[in-house]
Each structure stands twice: as structure tokens, then as C-alpha cells.
């Protein structure tokens, strides 16, 4: 479903080149639930934005659902984003002056879907996240958990092949976070491919597979120096 090979992302200024991703390799199969972890600044979000075709990359290859995306123009990338990818953001990113119904309608509008089908899909996805009664509410009238459910409903409404979630519970309290996570697990069980970036090891543990990023590269968890420190400290304690 999502395959990056030797992918790199370089930010260049006149005096310095900064690698956000370097020789980055990942292969996410269809139907997988992958958690991407790593310290701040490791390149998790850069990976996610490139995966979501929100940002271009400097080198390597990226195949999404069998399509090599590096040479696609803006229109083609937008079409793929619209039809194949659903985004769930940490900050929910609902549009404040649109109500719940209209927020979920946004991607369907860009798909050129007929009004009746849009309405059906919106109501179905709201049912799915348990917010059918809040269709006319504005984001400011909802709790954080409800807003994230609306964002999930918006991502689901277009029946995407891939869900990309960036710290989906980062702005929620424990109880709300649990609810959102259970919802993602339900969605995965129904066959969706999910790639979730998170800081939270507890959430990561609930995914099928964990991918760890350090300094812009996928590494084995044991290669993270922080884990060495933790293990060493634990060893000292035992001694």
C-alpha cells in the first residue's frame, strides 16, 4: 500500500543542508496498522506529510497504492489525496466556521460527488463515530474528543485506502484518547490501512507493528540510544 525506498528529504539554505529523512525505507502492507514512533525532530511528521503527498521529497522512490508519485503534478497529487488518503491531525484541524456536516463534506465536494451521495456518506460516517446528532453543531460547540471523532468521520467519509494519523490523541485527556483509539482499532478491524505517528508507547503498543525513526531513518528499537540509556539504568539498578 505504502512503500518508500531510499527516500530522502533535504531542507536547503544558502549555508546548510538539513536532512529530515535520509535513506528512509518503509513498506506498509494493505490492512496493516502501523505505529510510527521516535523522538521529537526525528522526522516522524515529515514522513507523514510526504506519505500524505502534502510535501515533496528530495530523492528515492515512493509508491502509494502501486503508483510512483514523485513525478505527479499538483492536480494528480490532490486527486490521490482526495480519493485514497484520509488525514487525522493532532489539532483536529476542523474548519471553525463550518458545522460538523459541512466539515465532513469538504473532501466529498472536491471529489465532485452528487449532493444525495454526499449526504448519505456524511450521515453514515457520523453514525460510525457516534455523532449523528451533532451534524449541525460547530466545532467550538464540541469537546476535544468529539472534534477528533468528527475529524475521523471526515477522513472516513471518502472511504480512503489509507488513514494517516498524526498524534491523534495528543490533544485529548486519557478517557477521550481511549475512545478515539478504540475507534481507530474498530476502523482497522474493518480493513483500513492505518499509519499512526505517536509519542505514546502505550498507543504504539496497540498497533500491529511499530516503526521507529531516529534522525530521519527507520531503525530497530534497540538502536535508539535512549533505550540503551534506559537499559543501562535498569542494569545498574539490578546490580
Amino acid at each position: 500500500m505504502l512503500k518508500m525506498t531510499h527516500l530522502s528529504k533535504v531542507y536547503r539554505t544558502e549555508v546548510v543542508e538539513t536532512y529530515a529523512l535520509r535513506d528512509f525505507n518503509i513498506d506498509v502492507k494493505e490492512g496493516e496498522f502501523v505505529a510510527v514512533t521516535g523522538p521529537s525532530g526525528s522526522g516522524k511528521t515529515t514522513f507523514l506529510t510526504i506519505a500524505g503527498l502534502l510535501e515533496t521529497f528530495s530523492g528515492g522512490e515512493y509508491h502509494l497504492d502501486g503508483i510512483e508519485v514523485s513525478n505527479l503534478n499538483d492536480n494528480a497529487r490532490s486527486k490521490i489525496r482526495n480519493e485514497k488518503i484520509g488525514f487525522i491531525f493532532q489539532a483536529f484541524n476542523l474548519i471553525p466556521d463550518l458545522n460538523v456536516f459541512d466539515n465532513i463534506e469538504v473532501p466529498l465536494r472536491y471529489r465532485g460527488m452528487k449532493a444525495a451521495e454526499r449526504k448519505q456518506r456524511i450521515m453514515d460516517s457520523l453514525e460510525r463515530v457516534g455523532l449523528a446528532s451533532r451534524a449541525k453543531h460547530y466545532p467550538a460547540e464540541l469537546s476535544g474528543g468529539q472534534q477528533q471523532r468528527v475529524a475521523i468521520a471526515r477522513a472516513l467519509a471518502g472511504s480512503p485506502r489509507l488513514l494517516l494519523a498524526d498524534e491523534p490523541t495528543g490533544n485529548l485527556d486519557t478517557q477521550m484518547a481511549r475512545g478515539v483509539m478504540e475507534l481507530l482499532e474498530d476502523i482497522h478491524r474493518e480493513g483500513a490501512t492505518i499509519v499512526m505517528v505517536t509519542h505514546d508507547p502505550e498507543l504504539a503498543a496497540r498497533a500491529q507493528r511499530n516503526v521507529h525513526i531516529i534522525d530521519g531513518q527507520v531503525v530497530e528499537l534497540s538502536e535508539d540510544p535512549r533505550f540503551h540509556t534506559v537499559h543501562a539504568a535498569a542494569g545498574d539498578a539490578h546490580a
Binding site: L54, N75, S78, E83, N93, R109
Partner: protein
């Protein structure tokens, strides 16, 4: 998608009412000021006879003596009676008319109405068909009436309404300047702007209320208005000018339907001048001009300089307003970077966002145009209060109404181009991270 973008635009404009009001106000002020002055300029520089003005020409020849002669100097702008009648009788054009302006007292013959003065035009029968003067009743007098110095008149509709209550007055008698005149025709509403056929009585003067044969006027020595220029011993008869005086005081217009005819007529004027010089009447070498209506109006600089200046200043002001609007729109669009980023993430292409933002600009332009229209109407009302001969003409016609909206929308779209382009260029990832 247009309806969707329009809906989004209205929501966005409602959300930032103060910013929207500022943009609309800036556009409205700029459009109001420029449309006021543009309308005045449009009215003053308009074609008085659309579709025909290119075929109507104003011949000039130089019958003056050698005193004050300078090479390249323009010939006089009017004709002597002798030259006017010679050119008229030569009948080398498709149509021709000789004329002068004047005024005369009318005795209404009614107990409840005092005598009053009217503007008159002394002319020849070709005047009416050549200038497409519309007849409500009757017709013009004939060429034979011209030569017979008939006491025939054509009156304007306003005078007919005043004296005869709007009834068909053809055949009735008009008592004017102590003479009884037979009414042969009544003109419908007619006011060519500018008053191109005789600018000596005012560039934007109302059309005259009574038209009568020129040669009758000469015979009766009726009062004449407008300018004249005499040399030698001229200047002592009709309105201090005698028929054979060396004075220019008549306007002469010809209709020449093709450029070839115009060229031939110019040659005829040269030949006529040479012939008159050979006869000893003219002393100068042939010096002729033949301008059509619009060339004549340009040459006479009919549109006041201050009107052109005002229009220039107003468009400068519109430019300042647009620059302000660009700044305000840029601020407005960039504040919505997060929303635009979300839309990009959800599948909107740059082109789609650009269209959305431009439609929002267009809505501002339309509302600004409406405000500008109201301000332009107010501005034109103020112009109409001024004591100038063109004041009453300052009215917004349909074409200027559409121009107002077109200018407002185009100007605002232009102002929205840069902000919309800038807003669409920000990488969506950055927009989402900045949220």
C-alpha cells in the same frame, strides 16, 4: 463548484466583518470617484451622432486678407455668407447645410402667457436629414422654400408642448420677432451632445427651439448669436454684419458618405479657393481643412481639461484603494493559511483554492461595486448642482452602469490575484503545522 465557492466566500466575508467592510469601503470609494469622473468624461466626449459622425464633415477655407497671415495657421472656423452660399449651391456633397444660431422673441398670443425668448437656428433644409433630426409631426421646409425665403419654421417638441399642448401644430401660425411664421414641422426630443454643429453657442447647449430658413433670417435681419470674425471693412449689418461683409459667422456641414468623396471634396475646397483667389476675392493661398465630427470635437478641445484631470486623479485614487485592498486581502487570506492547508490535505488542488479565493475577491468587488455605484450617483448629483453647461448631462447611463460593476469586479479580481496566489503557494504541511 462555483455555488460552493460562493457560499464559502459569503461565510468568510461574514466572519471578518470589519476587514470585509474595510475592503468594500476601499473599493467603493475608488470606484465611486472614478466612475463619477469617467461618466462625466464619457458624456462630454461622447459621439453626438453614433454611426453617422464619421460621414459628417466641417469644411474650412481661408478667405481672409493678407494681414496677420502666418504659414501653417489654421483657417477661420466659420464661413462668410457669400462662401457659405457658394458652397451650398455647388452641392458637391451628399448633403449640406449652412447655419447660424440666434434668438428671437415669441408672442404666444395668449392672455395667460407672457412673450418669451427662444434659441433659434437659421439653417437650410439639408440640416434635418443630415443630422437625423427626428420629426414628431410634419417635415422640414424644402430647398425651394430656402430660396424663396419662406416664412416657415420647424419647432421643437418642448415649444410645441408649451404653445399647443402637444397637439399637431403643423399648419398653425407662430408669431415670432414680429413676423407670422407657418409651422411646417415639429421635432421630437433631440439634443445631440456635444452641440457639435455650432460650438460657438456653447459646447453642451440645448438644441434650439425654432428652426427657420437662413436666407429668410438674412432678409429679415433677425438677431444672431455666436462668434464672428471680420477683417477689412466687415462688420456692420445683420447682428452688425451685412450679407457681403468680410466676416465669418456661419457654420457649414457636409455629408460625405465615403472616404473617396471626402478626398474629392477636399480637392473641391482647394479648387474653390484657387478660383476665388483668381477672382480677387481671396488673397491667401488655398488653406483648407475637412474634419469629421469627432476630429472637429477633438480639434476644438470640447472636453474641458479639468474634467480630464479629475478623471486621471480619480483613477490614481482607485489605484491607491486597490493597493490597500491588496494589503487587506493578503492579510485576510494569509490568516486563513491553516484552513487552506486543511483543504489542501483533503484534496483541494492549488487551482481549486485559487478559484475559491478569487471568487471571494469577486464578491468583495461586486459589493464594492454596488457601494461605488451609490457613491457615483451621489457624485453625479453633486456635479449636476454645479453651474456648468454640461452639468445636467451628468447622468449614469446603462453602459456606464455595467462599466461600474465590470470595473469593480475586474479591479478587485486583479487586487485578489497576488494574495490568492501567495496563499496557494504555502506548502500545506507548513500550514497544518502552523495551526
Amino acid at each position: 463548484m462555483f455555488a460552493y465557492y460562493l457560499d464559502l466566500a459569503l461565510r468568510s466575508l461574514k466572519r471578518n466583518k470589519a476587514l470585509t467592510a474595510l475592503m468594500v469601503l476601499a473599493i467603493a470609494l475608488g470606484i465611486g470617484a472614478s466612475m463619477t469622473t469617467l461618466t462625466v468624461l464619457h458624456v462630454l466626449s461622447g459621439d453626438p451622432l453614433p454611426g453617422k459622425s464619421a460621414q459628417l464633415y466641417y469644411p474650412q477655407i481661408d478667405p481672409q486678407d493678407l494681414k496677420g497671415m502666418m504659414p501653417g495657421k489654421e483657417p477661420p472656423e466659420q464661413l462668410t455668407l457669400v462662401d457659405g452660399l457658394n458652397l451650398l449651391h455647388a452641392a458637391r456633397a451628399d448633403r449640406q447645410a449652412l447655419m447660424a444660431g440666434g434668438s428671437a422673441p415669441i408672442d404666444p398670443g395668449k392672455a395667460d402667457m407672457d412673450p418669451f425668448y427662444v434659441e433659434t437656428r437659421y439653417t437650410t433644409t439639408g440640416f434635418f436629414p443630415m443630422f437625423d433630426a427626428p420629426f414628431l409631426f410634419g417635415h422640414a421646409w424644402t430647398a425651394a422654400d430656402d430660396e424663396a425665403k419662406a416664412r416657415d419654421v420647424v419647432i421643437a417638441r418642448s415649444l410645441n408642448d408649451k404653445l399647443f399642448g402637444g397637439a399637431d401644430s403643423v399648419g398653425r401660425t407662430l408669431r415670432m420677432a414680429g413676423v407670422d411664421w407657418r409651422i411646417v414641422g415639429v421635432l421630437d426630443q433631440w439634443r445631440p451632445n456635444p452641440h457639435f454643429y455650432d460650438l460657438t453657442t456653447g459646447s453642451y447647449a440645448y438644441a434650439e427651439q425654432v428652426f427657420l430658413p437662413l436666407q429668410t433670417m438674412v432678409e429679415l435681419r433677425l438677431d444672431r448669436n455666436g462668434s464672428s470674425d471680420c477683417w477689412g471693412n466687415g462688420g456692420g449689418g445683420v447682428g452688425n454684419i451685412l450679407p457681403n461683409d468680410d466676416c465669418v459667422w456661419l457654420q457649414f456641414w457636409v455629408q460625405l458618405d465615403t472616404p473617396a468623396k471626402a478626398a474629392a471634396y477636399r480637392d473641391f475646397l482647394v479648387h474653390y479657393s484657387q478660383e476665388q483667389k483668381a477672382l480677387g476675392r481671396f488673397q491667401r493661398a488655398p488653406n483648407v481643412r475637412l474634419r469629421n465630427v469627432m476630429q472637429w470635437l477633438d480639434y476644438k478641445m470640447v472636453v474641458p481639461d479639468d474634467v480630464r484631470l479629475q478623471a486621471g486623479l480619480a483613477f490614481g485614487f482607485l489605484l491607491v484603494c486597490l493597493v490597500n485592498t491588496v494589503g487587506l486581502m493578503l492579510a485576510k487570506f494569509m490568516r486563513r493559511a491553516a484552513e487552506l492547508g486543511v483543504r489542501r490535505a483533503l484534496g483541494a488542488s492549488r487551482r481549486a483554492l485559487f478559484a475559491q479565493l478569487l471568487i471571494e475577491s469577486g464578491v468583495v468587488g461586486l459589493v464594492g461595486g454596488l457601494g461605488g455605484l451609490l457613491l457615483a450617483m451621489l457624485g453625479l448629483w453633486l456635479v449636476r448642482q454645479r453651474p456648468s453647461d454640461y452639468a445636467a448631462l451628468a447622468q449614469l447611463d446603462t453602459s456606464m452602469l455595467f462599466t461600474t460593476f465590470a470595473l469593480a469586479v475586474c479591479a478587485t479580481l486583479l487586487a485578489g490575484l497576488l494574495p490568492a496566489w501567495r496563499a496557494c503557494q504555502i506548502a500545506p504541511a507548513l500550514q497544518l503545522k502552523s495551526n
